[in-house]
Amino acid sequence: MRNSTTKKSLYGVLAEFRNPKELIDAAKLVNQNGYRNYDTYSPFPIHGMDKAMSLQKSKLGWIVISHGLLGFTGAIAMIYWMMVVDYPLNISGKTLMNIPAWVPVIFELTILLSAFGAVFGMFFLNGLPKLNHPLFTSENFKKATDDGFFVCIEAEDPQFDSEKVQKLLSDAGASNIEEIYED
């Protein structure tokens, strides 16, 4: 539905709500009206927003466990190769496969790799870093990291129609409704 006559293409419609409760209600409303390409913005995570927006369970757990297993098996493989295969050292007659003594390093590397998975996996799932975004063109949107609560319905949504969307949001009690254009 993009208007080809305007120079800049429309990114979406941004609307502000007063508080977490109104934002949740708005998210429920937008969701029930069948919109899929939308998002809500708040300075802190809001309890119950996942249900209101029917968000899928985060896939992060799978990323973390795969990294953790990589750290675990990688540590065992590394120590085994170094201590038993490549340069076996007889240390006071102890067995080369001195597994109990390897536990601390295996544990630490499992945690380290899992933590990398948890942080960089989260960045990956969120598409961060993304230093430029159409929403940053809105001066009002700066409140989203302070005390502003926003809904943005994106133009990519199949049933997007700017006027209908604006009406829906203003009926839901939104203020400062504005169209956001791609930068």
Binding site: S42, P43, I91, N132
Partner: protein, 475 residues
């Protein structure tokens, strides 16, 4: 409108009449205001101390570790004492951010950023000591499993190598945890700062965070997983540090109580250090509404608990030494109390076991001045604990003919003093340029953040907390 029943009513986490905007302003205005003059004074002093550290390390590398007081029989002195002391202090941050997070302790949000920063800088100070202690610091990379000219690998059966992995993993994970927590707050500063350079710098490190709830969803999951990972990690680090001692066969070191005893001591000293710094900062930066007396009281209770655990461990060590029937074990513990280092031992007992007992009194644990004094006393005591453990066992070990008294030299002392320069230089930069309270998290624990606390018209209604009468319930 909601009704919550609480058997023990919790005091409000943010005092005063604050909304989201005023909390943001209270914390991030500190970063936006012009630098206070006092900050430059403090920063200058810290820089001088940092310079002293660099000079003493430079001289050490040039001359060798003979400039320290180490000799036979005491080969581990102040350097190891300082390492264990700093790394112990570094335990409070991750404990507050990870373990208290898993236990859903909302009060942690006021102090976690602060404590995590302290952790990172304390671990940096700690890491210096083992690194410069190796003597030939230019081949320090031999401690890592990297290919080297000898075609050898480090010994994975050695506790000293475990320590390398434990401390470096702890530092990395603490840094990641801290940074993940910082991202939303960096975005807040990015959106409020006026200067162009500031916008670019904060904007870059905020990674383009825009408070999207689709992002928060993954973010919260990530934060919880990190907390779950950091919890066993924080317990493992001081455990592994204690293995440096416990895996040897020196009397007084070769005990199984060391891991839990070291961890309790680490939490004890870490909380004391957080309190010392927090009491100064809340006053100077006017954050009394966020870091309240209730927070100080809760932390004092943890100090009381861990201090008593440490005291119990001291008793247990004596008991086990006697119960083991080993002459050397018995001798070393008696020598600790009445031998050449008895002065250090009794300072340790007075500071660590006796001083926290004052906190049984509610009045004293809510007294800011008293808490400040005790927090410093506790850290002096914990330094002496590490001194007693490290030095006494070595100076009077198996063979009386090889006993010797250890004293530090000038260079031992100024290297230690210099690490405070490293610590405070970083800490002051943190206070100046980063939000010292986790603003986003703090807003999340305010009653206004809960959608249940609003009526049908969308107006905020203060949640009503009712305390059920036990007599009514039990009948």
């Amino acid at each position: 409108m909601s009704k919550t029943y609480e058997y023990v009513p919790e005091p409000a986490l943010v005092k005063g009449n604050h909304d989201f905007k005023s909390v943001t302003a209270l914390v991030t205005d500190i970063n936006l205001r012009p630098t206070p003059k006092l900050w430059y004074v403090a920063f200058g002093i810290s820089n001088i101390l940092l310079l002293i550290l660099l000079v003493s390390i430079g001289y050490l590398v040039w001359e060798g570790i003979g400039i320290w007081g180490l000799n036979q029989p005491v080969g581990w002195g102040w350097a190891i004492v300082n390492f264990v002391w700093w790394v112990g202090i570094g335990h409070a941050g991750t404990l507050i951010s990870a373990i208290l997070f898993l236990f859903r302790q909302g009060w942690r949000t006021a102090i976690n950023r602060f404590a995590e920063a302290m952790t990172i800088f304390a671990v940096m100070c700690a890491g210096i000591f083992p690194a410069i202690h190796v003597g030939r610091i230019w081949v320090i990379y031999w401690v890592f499993p990297l290919p080297n000219q000898m075609a050898m690998w480090p010994n994975f059966n050695s506790p000293l190598l475990w320590d390398v992995f434990a401390v470096s993993t702890y530092f990395t994970v603490s840094l990641l945890f801290w940074y993940v927590g910082l991202i939303p707050d960096l975005a807040t500063v990015r959106d409020r700062i006026k200067s162009k350079v500031g916008k670019v710098l904060y904007g870059t490190f905020a990674l383009g965070w825009r408070g999207s709830n689709r992002h928060w969803w993954n973010y919260e999951k990530s934060y919880m997983i990190l907390a779950g990972l950091a919890t066993p990690l924080v317990l493992s680090v001081h455990t592994i540090v204690s293995f440096d001692f416990a895996v040897s066969i020196i009397p007084g070191w070769h005990t199984t109580i060391f891991p839990p005893y070291f961890v309790a001591g680490a939490v004890f000293s870490g909380f004391a250090m957080v309190l010392t710094l927090m009491i100064i900062c809340r006053k100077i930066y006017g954050l009394e509404d966020i870091m309240t007396v209730d927070h100080i009281e809760k932390m004092n209770i943890i100090i009381l608990v861990t201090g008593s655990m440490v005291g119990f461990a001291y008793l247990m060590e004596f008991f086990i030494a006697w119960y083991s029937g080993v002459e050397y074990e018995k001798a070393i513990f008696i020598l600790r109390a009445i031998g050449p280092y008895a002065w250090a031992y009794w300072i340790m007992i007075a500071c660590n076991v006796l001083s926290p007992q004052f906190f049984w009194s509610k009045k004293l644990r809510r007294s800011v001045t008293f808490t400040f004094i005790i927090s410093i006393v506790v850290n002096i005591g914990m330094w002496f604990e590490r001194f007693v453990i490290t030095v006494t066992s070595l100076s009077t070990d198996f063979l009386p003919s090889s006993w010797g008294y250890y004293s530090p030299t000038f260079w031992d002392v100024i290297t230690y003093v210099g690490t405070f320069g490293l610590f405070f230089t970083h800490f002051l930069l943190f206070l100046r340029y980063l939000p010292m309270v986790a603003v986003a998290e703090l807003k999340g624990v305010m009653p206004q953040a809960d959608p249940h606390n609003y009526d049908e018209k969308g107006e905020f209604v203060e949640p009503k907390v009712e305390v059920p009468e036990p007599t009514k319930q039990s009948v």
